[in-house]
Every structure is written in structure tokens, then in C-alpha cells.
């Protein structure tokens, strides 16, 4: 293992200290926790937004804390959901009297820990609502099993729900718009190389020199197909087609695109992927409202990418365009 760290067991804590040092005017932490909170929290009269999950996906989620997006992010150990007491601290810190929305990625660990935290908050009289993001089309959708994972599409939920909360909307209204994003966002990813959890010390899986994997999860969960490495155009086509199979788009539909790097892929390659994705949209007569290219939801040093498509209506487009002051998602 070759990593720029001091102690594999201190990575989360040290990262948080580094973030506070870099952005003292924007972020604060709650002592004794791994929660990062907006400096001016709780914002009175605004619904508070809390998300979080395992660490290792930076800038998710702390990078999305700021005016117009999240009020707090809870960082768990690397790839492990945070504990209920930590989430509870975050809820208390952001409750400005209008209730708190929890944005949860659909993993059993996250769902269970956030649910327990919500129960603790409700016991103290704080109004809490939860939405569960499940945008990963690599997994079969099912009500009888755990179902789809939450991945890069989550950031668009943060953005749009955050903008809605900023309008002074009620908890029910913010929850409703978050759910609308969730039902209109789909993501499909692929990986070229594995990543190593610092405390584990070795990669979660191995790929041959000429292998890649379609549908791999952001924790190195095996995907749906291992194949010979393919050119970017072909990869882009596979990813987009898999999304369209699940969420058909027709001419004149409006979308936002996110080309997300997993941490070890150069931005150059992400733009190469986007070139093809944009061409496909053009061919199909789909209107691209905005494209985001960068590392938004990473998987440590994994090489690979995901493509997210969010189908927009006027309300979603307007909220997506609203300003945001989050470190990793600045918009004016």
C-alpha cells in the first residue's frame, strides 16, 4: 500500500481537521464527532439538510456543505456508514425549527444507522424526514431485496433539495422535491483499477492488466460484467444505454449530465467520455441543460467513472441553477 497518510486509523479525523483548517469561514465541526457543519448553522426558518456516509468518497459529502446545499455532513470510517449518535449530533446542530431532511444513500448500513438517529431525534421532538437515493442502474430494482445503491446522483439531490430549502419551503416540500429528483436520476459506472481501504492495506479486488468492470460499486462491490478494456466511446455508449433502458428519454427531453471520476481517472479522460455522451444526446435530440465533469463521488484512488443523467422539468432546472456556496459545488 502506497498512500500519503500518517496513520491508517486516523485518516477520517485528520481529513476533517484539514478541511476545517482550509475553510474556517465556512465549516465547523462538532467536538468529539466527525460531523462537519455550516459555520452559520442552525439557519433559523430553513429546513436543515443532513447527509453522510462512509468516508473515501470525497468531496462527498462534506464538500457539499454550504449555503444552497447541505447543512451538515456526517463522515463514517472509510466505506462504513457513520453511527447513529453522530448523525443525531448533526441533526441537532442544523435544526432551525423547520425540521431536518436526511439524504441517505441506499446501503443497509447507512439506512439502519440514519433510521436509528431519526428515532433518537424524534424522541427529542425534532421533526425528521428521510429520503433514500438509489440511482445505480447496475443493480436490479426490487422491493423484496435491498435494491439499488445510491451513488453520484446523490449530489444532484443535495443540490436541488438544498436550493428548495433555501426558498423557505416546508419539510414536506423539500422532501417532495428530493423524491422527485430521486425518481428522475439514474447513474451507471465502471472501473479500471481497484482501491485500497487504508485500514485493510490491500486492494478490495484485482483486475487483470487488460480488464475493466462495468457496473462496479463505489466501494469496489463487483459489477455486472468484467470485460476486456474498451475505448472510451464504447464505454460511454454502454453506460448511457444501460441508463436509457431504465429511464427512456425522448426527443426534446431536458437533462443534466454528470460525468463523475472515481478518484484515479484524469479529468482529461472524463472529458473524452463526455464528448461521446454529448454526441449521443445530440443524436437523440435531447436537450442538455448543464453538464458537470469532475470528481464528485469518488472511491479513494479507484480509476473509472460514472455517468449520471437527471431528467429535468422547469422546477428542477430552476433549482439546479440556483446559487450554491458549497466548496465542491460552487454556483453563482
Amino acid at each position: 500500500m502506497k498512500k500519503l497518510i500518517n496513520d491508517p486509523n486516523a485518516v477520517v479525523q485528520e481529513m476533517i481537521e484539514g478541511m476545517i483548517a482550509a475553510h474556517p469561514d465556512k465549516l465547523k465541526t462538532i467536538p468529539g464527532t466527525t460531523v462537519l457543519v455550516r459555520k452559520d448553522a442552525p439557519v433559523q426558518g430553513k429546513v436543515g439538510l443532513v447527509s453522510g456516509g462512509g468516508s473515501g468518497h470525497e468531496p462527498a459529502h462534506a464538500g457539499y456543505v454550504g449555503k444552497g446545499m447541505l447543512d451538515a455532513a456526517v463522515a463514517g470510517e472509510v466505506f462504513t456508514s457513520p453511527t447513529p449518535d453522530q448523525v443525531f449530533e448533526a441533526i441537532k446542530a442544523v435544526d432551525g425549527g423547520k425540521g431536518v431532511l436526511l439524504i441517505i444513500k441506499n446501503y443497509t448500513g447507512d439506512v439502519l444507522n440514519f433510521e436509528m438517529a431519526a428515532e433518537m431525534a424524534e424522541a427529542e421532538g425534532i421533526k425528521v424526514a428521510k429520503v433514500i437515493v438509489n440511482d445505480d442502474v447496475a443493480v436490479e430494482d426490487s422491493t423484496y431485496t435491498t435494491g439499488r445503491r445510491g451513488i453520484a446522483g446523490t449530489i444532484l439531490v443535495h443540490k436541488i433539495a438544498g436550493a428548495m430549502a433555501d426558498t423557505g419551503a416546508s419539510l414536506e416540500e423539500v422532501e417532495a422535491v428530493a423524491k422527485k429528483v430521486i425518481s428522475n436520476v439514474r447513474t451507471m459506472g465502471m472501473a479500471l483499477t481497484p482501491c485500497t481501504v487504508p485500514a485493510a492495506g490491500k486492494p478490495g479486488f484485482e483486475h487483470g492488466e487488460k480488464e475493466m468492470e462495468i457496473g462496479m460499486g463505489i466501494h469496489g462491490e463487483p459489477g455486472i460484467e468484467k470485460t476486456e478494456i474498451q475505448p472510451a466511446n464504447q464505454v460511454a455508449e454502454t453506460l448511457v444505454n444501460k441508463i436509457l433502458e431504465d429511464m427512456p428519454l425522448v426527443e426534446k427531453d431536458r437533462v443534466a449530465i454528470m460525468i463523475n471520476g472515481l478518484g484515479g481517472t484524469p479529468i482529461m479522460e472524463l472529458y473524452i467520455v463526455n464528448k461521446k455522451v454529448a454526441e449521443m444526446m445530440k443524436e437523440k435530440g435531447i436537450d442538455v441543460h448543464e453538464t458537470f465533469v469532475g470528481n464528485y463521488m469518488t472511491s479513494l484512488e479507484m480509476a473509472g467513472c460514472s455517468v449520471t443523467l437527471l431528467k429535468l422539468d422547469d422546477q428542477l432546472a430552476e433549482l439546479l441553477d440556483a446559487p450554491s456556496d458549497a466548496i465542491a459545488f460552487k454556483k453563482s
Binding site: 470510517e77 466505506f79 462504513t80 453511527t83 435491498t146 481501504v197 466501494h219 462491490e221 463487483p222
Partner: protein, 208 residues
């Protein structure tokens, strides 16, 4: 088969020891069908449990198991933190104010713990989770007039091994669908260690 405070403590200490020894193995199982953190999660959690309970003097079993539960809930994270945490919390509630539990009481407590796991995680037997070890073990201790510790150990082991052939419906492994077949469920493996440690502790003491 009386559960005293000393024996309950020994059970947790033995379990921790087994978890620390098998940490890499649990992690390997989780790397095959999950995200490779189960060994780390359990090792971190039970190390803290031992730190908490070893120097503490308890008057009642529920106080001890409540400390176990709260430590797991606040230190483990993942799916296993709330699940094992809920289990020990239910066990604690079932043993309220008892300084020792006779067999009947203890079995009741284990059943309550299993019900807690099922209520929290909504998994059923056959979904390839820790429930596949917990449920048959609880059925066994509920139905036998004499509990044979070696049988209990064997049963837990066999049920753990049987998860190998199951397709995961719950937890991270469910994302794999059919490809989850062929690997033992990590949570079932750690649950086997829990019951193996229990059998171990009772074997060392006298039985009645």
C-alpha cells in the same frame, strides 16, 4: 446453564478474542461479496466493548449488555453495528434487573435479540445474513430439554456454512444477485463466532 455476570463478561471477552483472530478472514469474506469492512467493523467495535466492560463492576446483566449494545451502536457503524447493537439491547431489556439468568430466562433473551435483528434489518431466514445462524440457534435452544454445547457449536457452524449456497437478498451482497452464491456470509460467520464463544464459556464452567 446459568448465565452469571462473570460468565457473560467472559463470553464477550472470548468473542472479542475470536473476532480479533478472525478479523482478516471476516474481511476476506466481505471483500468477496460486500465491501470488505466486516472484520474491521467487528474488531473495532468489540475492542471498545472490552475496554468498556472489563474494568467495570456490574450488579446486573442488563447493565452489562446495555453497555455492550451502546458501545456497538456508537462505535461500529455499517450494517452490523445497529444489528448487533439492537440484539444486545433487546437481550439487556429481557434480563432487566437480573444478576443472573437461568436457562429459561437466557433463552428468552436470545429470542428477543433475534427478534430485534429481524425487526431492524427486515431480513428473513434464507436471505443470506446473520439471521441464518441466529434463527436456527435460537430455535435449537428453545426446543431442546438439554442443550449440548458441542451440538450448539456444530449447529451454528453448519448454518454458517450453509449460507455459502444461498443467494443474498439483503445487505450489500444482494447487489451481486446470483454471484453472491459460493461465499459464506460475513455476518453469519461472525455470528457463528458469537455462539462458538458462548459454547466455549459454558464448557469451562459447570452446567446445570
Amino acid at each position: 446453564m446459568k448465565l452469571t455476570i462473570a460468565r457473560a463478561k467472559e463470553w464477550m471477552l472470548t468473542f472479542n478474542q475470536r473476532i480479533q483472530e478472525e478479523k482478516d478472514h471476516l474481511t476476506e469474506l466481505d471483500q468477496a461479496i460486500g465491501d470488505g469492512d466486516h472484520g474491521l467493523n467487528m474488531a473495532r467495535g468489540f475492542q471498545e466493548v472490552v475496554k468498556k466492560i472489563e474494568p467495570t463492576n456490574y450488579d446486573t446483566l442488563d447493565a452489562l449488555f446495555k453497555d455492550v449494545a451502546m458501545t456497538l451502536i456508537s462505535k461500529v457503524g455499517g450494517a452490523s453495528g445497529p444489528l448487533y447493537g439492537t440484539a444486545f439491547l433487546r437481550l439487556s431489556t429481557a434480563l432487566k434487573a437480573e444478576s443472573e439468568a437461568n436457562r429459561e430466562k437466557f433463552v428468552e433473551g436470545l429470542k428477543a435479540a433475534l427478534d430485534g435483528i429481524k425487526a431492524r434489518g427486515k431480513a428473513h431466514r434464507g436471505d443470506k445474513t446473520m439471521v441464518d445462524v441466529w434463527e436456527p440457534v435460537v430455535d435449537y435452544v428453545q426446543s431442546q430439554s438439554t442443550i449440548h454445547l458441542s451440538q450448539l457449536n456444530e449447529l451454528a457452524k453448519e448454518k454458517m456454512e450453509e449460507t455459502k449456497d444461498l443467494e443474498a437478498k439483503m445487505g450489500r451482497a444482494s447487489y451481486l444477485g446470483k454471484r453472491s452464491i459460493g461465499t459464506i456470509d460475513p455476518g453469519a460467520a461472525s455470528s457463528y463466532l458469537l455462539f462458538a464463544s458462548l459454547a466455549d464459556c459454558f464448557q469451562k464452567g459447570e452446567m446445570d
